[in-house]
């Protein structure tokens, strides 16, 4: 009796071991050829015959690969192998909904982390018609819902709570992709992630066309600024938060945009992409004579700014009314188009910056995301 029991036990174990054979080794051993990205550093798109592989890196040095996604027509049952069509997407940030919306693929978004802050009419309509649902309540992901639907989860890379969510994605064998688009240094690098989303939707050609258009517009504005504008204003960013000032690094996305719009950022001297927390008096000393002030937190008028802290009035842009914020397109629910589609359209952002910094060179042109505080 015991003999038979052990025989069955060993058979079951061996059977399971064979069943769990990982296809990663097979897939990784193929001779993938990379189609190098023009600006983006944190992803690689590789091809092998009719198969495509997306690699997402933790940083530009490409030492750590956070996600590997395979797209093809092979009959491979693997969590990160998309055979044919996806079951849709769960976007854990409105930015990813912005990418998919730009590619006219909004209908594929089945879940979003917070449906309240959607700006795009198309996305909002899908949410109102319940074709798209919230997959998080009070910041907690509804893993049961995601497991039931097996959609591709688009998550952002962080060291905090998202990482604990990723442990659950792995445990439940849910397809997911960790995005590091926000670590791109070049504004067009972030927009180039359209290609990643395009591949996931089977719309690479469409994505490439859109990205090329964006790049052409961006470069045209940049070139115009370079060739025509000689006086570069100094730009300061942000406002106080909890007694300190959160300053964007000199190699950040926004610092690059400011430079390309023919202006100087106050903190180019901080050679980092990351934000730096500085005391108010330090920022005052460094930026008191700046000409332009961008993104003073959520303040939408100079009066609000002065009421929040009278010392804001000591900055030159306050007295010259050269304070601009990304609050031009906000709907009744408080959703801001800038956070949804701003990173997808750096060409529009650059044009906005150029109009704000050098209105005399863009007479009659209107900004899209930014407006002056009055």
């Amino acid at each position: 009796m015991m003999k038979h029991f052990f025989f069955y036990l060993i058979s079951v174990v061996l059977f399971n071991a064979c069943q769990n054979k990982d296809n990663s080794v097979y897939l990784d051993n193929l001779s993938w050829k990379e189609d190098s990205a023009a600006y983006a550093q944190n992803f690689a798109i590789q091809f092998y015959n009719n198969d495509t592989r997306i690699l997402i890196f933790k940083s530009e040095n490409r030492l750590d690969t956070l996600s590997k996604i395979y797209i093809g027509n092979k009959n491979i049952e693997k969590t990160n192998y998309i055979s044919g069509k996806t079951n849709g997407f769960a976007c854990l940030s409105a930015v990813y909904a912005g990418y998919l919306d730009a590619l006219n693929q909004s209908a594929k978004i089945k879940f979003i982390d917070n449906g309240k802050y959607l700006y795009s009419k198309r996305l909002k309509q899908l949410f109102d018609e319940k074709k798209m649902q919230s997959c998080a309540t009070n910041g907690q992901l509804n893993l049961e819902l995601l497991a039931e639907n097996k959609v591709m989860i688009l998550a952002y890379e962080t060291d905090g709570s998202t990482n604990s969510d990723i442990i659950h994605f792995k445990r439940l064998k849910l397809p997911y992709m960790i995005c590091t688009d926000f670590k791109e240094k070049h504004p067009l690098g972030r927009a180039e992630w359209l290609k990643v989303f395009g591949i996931l939707c089977g719309e690479l050609d469409n994505a490439e066309t859109l990205f090329n258009e964006i790049a052409v517009h961006y470069q045209a504005t940049k070139l115009y600024c370079e060739q025509n504008i000689t006086e570069k204003p100094t730009v300061m960013l942000g406002a106080l938060f909890g007694g300190n000032w959160n300053v964007s690094g000199g190699k950040s996305f926004i610092a690059a945009l400011i430079g390309d719009a023919a202006a100087n950022y106050s903190y180019y001297s901080y050679p980092s992409q990351d934000n730096r927390i500085l005391p108010f008096e330090k920022v005052f000393e460094d930026c008191k004579n700046a000409q332009i002030w961008l993104n003073p937190n959520a303040y939408s008028s100079l009066k609000d700014l002065a009421e929040a802290d009278i010392r804001y009035t000591l900055f030159k842009p306050f007295s010259t009314k050269q304070v601009f914020n990304n609050t031009k397109m906000i709907n009744a629910d408080g959703a801001n188009a800038f956070w949804e589609s701003g990173v997808v359209r750096p060409d529009i952002l650059l044009r906005d910056f150029a109009i704000c910094f050098h209105p005399n060179y863009f007479i009659g042109e209107q900004t899209v995301f930014f407006k002056p505080l009055d």
Binding site: G243, I277, L278, P279, E281, E285, K288, D309, I310
Partner: protein, 313 residues
């Protein structure tokens, strides 16, 4: 006693000066716009630290006296939690009724009023202490519940407020604090002898003609206003109200509240100024959380009290 007080005042003045000159790790005279930086940033910051430390230490001393508990502090009555709740309502639910400062003052004053009403009927200090502690738990639970329903950015704002800071006050706010502080100090000094009598025990103090209920109300009022206004201007400031009275009792070796209140005021102000100086200038242009710095400085004092009491027992 006068000599010790003079040393303490000298230390305080030195720290005040150091804070103004070396705050943020860069000497004031090296700043291009030093006048603006002095009047708009460093002086308000130093004065806020001075006032907060001073009034919270007095509050701590009075709480330790009326509750006969060496580990009682200004936040033991749940006043700072009440202020925190009002701030949490303001930040987390986007219900702005005049900003964080007004919210904290309203929250602490409403709770203080309730506490004074209760203390008129409850002369037992232990019961009042328990009410304070339980109210604190209740307020913290409500805040936790609200946090779980709030947007990440609002939670971040609330957490930042909770870390405490002397840097966010404008000169006008510092002046308001500077007006209230001497009033609280003088009010406490005016009743110093009554607090001396209370040390004999409630029964003996009553037999000597002291109205114990009234002195309870006075202590609660001083502690409440001190905690509320500090929470309003600096966020919840940890430990100073607990540590300063013990340091003063140890050094001055007196039970006279006239001296203890004075000493606590200067000692508390010195501790907060020193903590703020460390938090802001250990590394140039990097701010360490104030409450973390205060806890690092004050925790050894509290440990010392616990060990000392254990040895005495």
């Amino acid at each position: 006693m006068i000599k010790k007080t003079a040393i303490l005042v000298s230390l305080l003045l030195l720290l005040l000066l150091l804070n103004i000159i070396f705050c943020n790790g860069v000497p004031l005279f090296q700043k291009s716009a030093w006048q603006t930086i002095f009047f708009q940033f460093r002086l308000p910051r130093a004065l806020t630290a001075f006032c907060a430390g001073g009034v919270l230490s007095i509050a701590g001393l009075l709480m330790q006296n009326i509750f006969k508990n060496p580990l009682a502090g200004p936040d033991i009555l749940g006043i700072s939690q009440a202020a925190s709740l009002a701030v949490a309502i303001s930040i987390l639910s986007n219900f702005a009724f005049g900003g964080i400062i007004i919210a904290a003052i309203i929250g602490s004053c409403c709770y203080l009023f309730l506490l004074i009403l209760l203390s008129k009927h409850i002369s037992n200090s232990t019961t009042l202490l328990l009410i304070g502690v339980m109210s604190g738990f209740l307020f913290s639970a409500i805040i936790s519940t609200m946090q779980s329903f709030s947007a990440a950015e609002n939670i971040k704002s609330y957490v930042m407020w909770g870390m405490g800071s002397f840097a966010k006050n404008t000169p006008n706010q510092a002046i308001i604090f500077l007006i209230v502080t001497p009033l609280l100090f003088l009010f406490a000094m005016f009743h110093a002898q009554k607090f001396d009598l209370l040390l004999l025990g409630n029964q003996k103090a009553s037999m000597l003609g002291l109205n114990v209920s009234n002195i309870f109300i006075i202590a609660v009022l001083v502690a409440g206003v001190a905690t509320g206004i500090s929470a309003a201007f600096c966020g919840p400031v940890a430990f100073v109200g607990l540590a300063a009275p013990h340091l003063c009792k140890m050094w001055f070796a007196t039970y006279s509240h006239k001296w203890l209140i004075t000493a606590c005021f200067f000692m508390g102000a010195s501790i907060t100024l020193f903590a703020d100086l460390l938090a802001s200038s250990l590394v140039s242009d990097i701010q360490f959380p104030l409450n973390a710095m205060l806890s690092i400085l004050a925790a050894p004092v509290i440990l010392w009290v616990i060990i000392k009491r254990r040895n005495e027992n």
